[in-house]
């Protein structure tokens, strides 16, 4: 295998991993803090992509249309995330795992069908602005220039989340809540408000990820079904509630997929599930998680 092919696959794995990181970071944050596994995360991600399409469509005449549409879509999803948290998720904090999973499972069905009702069944395609329309060349290898933007967004979200968790007061509270919510509550911090904030932040990132995904190819119904399982794999490999773990997990899944597709295209996804299973068996709390969660 020659060097240029390795570079090409590495870059493709990097962009894939960044996409997964954007989706999985919110999922991991929500689970880490709220102990709720949000099955509907990828459905909300898909909704973000459709919102991006609509905003872009409305501003089609302007060159900056897409660049405004992406943050707008993320904000729209944050608003929807807030409604979902306050109306539904809040009621099942103390319920059993099966009921929480079932609730978010029901949400997927509802959201997917609402998307179908709103945007119809045909695929949606965003015409990219000229800046990211043509490929760039690394060592003579063509690379989709839009993915440079994807990688930048991924890095920005990673750094932003890290700064937020390490440097701000709110971030400290969130990290403390991952460790022990009873203690945080005992210190007089309103846990429900923290939960709502975390959920909205998680869905905001999911919406952003969807919006960023939108111009990559066409937006199709049902794109979310495969994505959610891969996002679970990322979070399991990295460890629930660990930002670093989610980042490393995304890179592992992205690169494993990119390289295994060269040798064994049918088995690329299967390999990811096998890695996930191995991590779960050896270290159920993931590579970077902490085993002492309650």
């Amino acid at each position: 295998m020659d060097f240029s092919l390795v570079i090409a696959q590495f870059l493709s794995g990097l962009s894939r991993g960044m996409m997964l990181f954007l989706i999985a970071s919110g999922l991991s944050l929500i689970f880490g803090v709220m102990n709720i596994l949000n099955f509907a995360h990828a459905a909300l991600w898909l909704a973000g992509a459709y919102f991006c399409y609509t905003f872009w469509y409305l501003m089609q005449g302007y060159g900056f249309g897409l660049w405004v549409a992406i943050p707008l879509a993320a904000l729209a999803m944050a608003a929807i995330g807030w409604v979902i948290e306050v109306v539904l998720i809040r009621r099942v904090y103390d319920r059993e795992l099966s009921e929480q999973l079932l609730l978010t499972y029901g949400l997927i069905l509802v959201i997917d069908d609402l998307i179908k009702l709103t945007w119809g069944a045909e695929d949606k395609l965003i015409t990219r602005p000229p800046l990211v329309a043509s490929p760039v060349f690394f060592f003579g290898i063509p690379f989709d220039s839009y993915f440079i933007f994807v990688i930048l967004i991924g890095v920005a979200v990673a750094i932003g989340l890290w700064l937020f968790l390490k440097k701000t007061r709110y971030g400290h509270i969130v990290r403390a809540a991952v460790f022990s919510r009873e203690m945080v509550g005992a210190l007089g911090i309103p846990i429900p408000r923290i939960y709502t904030g975390v959920f909205v932040l998680g869905i905001f990132i999911a919406g952003l990820a969807g919006a960023v995904q939108a111009p990559v190819g066409s937006i199709t119904l049902g794109m979310d079904t495969a994505v959610i399982v891969q996002a679970f794999c990322v979070v399991v490999i990295g460890g629930f509630g660990s930002l670093l773990g989610t980042f490393v997990g995304s890179m592992i899944v992205g690169e494993v997929y990119a390289f295994s597709i060269l040798f064994w295209p049918q088995g690329a996804l299967a390999l990811i599930f096998i890695i996930t299973a191995l991590v779960l068996i050896a270290r159920p709390w993931g590579l970077f998680g902490t085993p002492m969660r309650t």
């Binding site: 999973l101 399982v229 679970f232 049918q266 299973a277 779960l280």
Partner: protein, 321 residues
């Protein structure tokens, strides 16, 4: 035994059902029975072992493919195909379960989901063997069972027999051991029971019955597709069990009746069935936590069977992981 007169009543009703309704409803009834067995087998893991499996559809799908492929490619008679379905699902469950029983709670759910997806992708990608996403067509039942009514009686017989076997398993010392493990795995270990081995056996038996349910599906639909084992399908028995009530033996069956009837009714006039069932799922989770059987039990004493709710303490039933 006096308490169980209503089971006889249900059985008698099931026997005369095809004579009284249109063929469409006979089809619905067959589906209720198949999905009901699927859900009852799921509840062996969920209700009686206390672990939530989100990959149970994998065994359902493996069973469906075992019978489907044997019937399309060989002249083996249907009952033997069904036995092969149980064995195929059981073998898969031994391998998967060996790892899964090491985990509990949310990790158990995710590991079963990951393994389920692994099986889904194997079936989906292995074109030369399974037909991939084209599925499998032309699974024709034997001439004797060609009509809906005949196949209904056949399904009723198989599902009824399977339910009786599961009932005896649940009421056996083995079944009580499972409930002990569910309520307190540590204490069960202290009295010298090999918890993991018991959990594995239970997991495999549950998977075998899911495989049997899957096997019945192919000859009924005349075709199967890999979507049967996708994780979306694993949510169906979870929903049926929660809506029917996990603590009653027939809870999942009641859930199957509700789900399948609703599906037959709703898909008649709208393509937005997922929207309807999704909303129902959300409403049930929010407002009917004990399921229908729980609601009935609160009001009607006659349904309160002592050994169903035996030793169930809400606080210990909760996941500790």
């Amino acid at each position: 035994m006096k308490r169980y007169w209503w089971i006889g009543l249900i059985f008698a009703g099931a026997l005369i059902l095809p004579l009284t309704v249109e063929e469409f409803w006979v089809h619905v009834a067959i589906e209720i029975l198949i999905l009901g067995l699927f859900a009852v087998s799921f509840n062996m893991i969920f209700g009686y072992m206390g672990q939530l499996s989100f990959g149970h559809a994998a065994f359902y799908g493996v069973g469906a493919y075992a019978t489907g492929m044997l019937m399309v490619k060989t002249p083996i008679p249907l009952p033997i195909c069904l036995a092969a379905s149980m064995i195929a699902a059981g073998v898969c469950a031994v391998i998967i379960g060996y790892f899964c029983v090491r985990l509990t709670g949310i990790y158990f759910a995710i590991l079963t989901l990951a393994f389920g997806q692994l099986i889904y992708y194997i079936i989906f990608q292995w074109y030369s063997f399974t037909g991939g996403d084209n599925g499998l067509q032309g699974i024709v039942p034997p001439k004797m069972l060609f009509g809906a009514t005949a196949y209904y009686y056949f399904t009723l017989f198989i599902v009824g027999a399977a339910l009786i076997v599961i009932w005896y398993i649940i009421r056996s010392p083995f079944g009580y051991t499972m409930r002990a493990i569910r309520d307190n795995a540590d204490r069960t270990r202290f009295i010298g029971i090999n918890v993991r081995r018991y959990m594995l056996i239970n997991f495999v038996v549950a998977a075998m019955f899911a495989g049997l349910a899957g096997g019945l599906l192919g000859p009924f639909n005349r075709s199967i597709s890999p979507d049967l084992c996708n994780w979306h399908q694993s949510g169906v028995p979870v929903f049926m069990t929660v809506i029917g009530g996990a603590l009653g033996f027939l809870g999942p069956m009641i859930g199957s009746v509700v789900y399948t009837f609703l599906m037959a009714f709703v898909t008649g006039f709208t393509e937005y069935w997922p929207l309807v069932i999704g909303s129902v799922i959300i409403l049930v989770v929010l407002f009917v936590p004990g399921g229908i059987l729980g609601l009935v039990e609160e009001r009607v004493k006659i349904f309160r069977s002592k050994d169903m709710a035996d030793g169930v303490d809400e606080s210990t039933h909760k996941e500790s992981a």
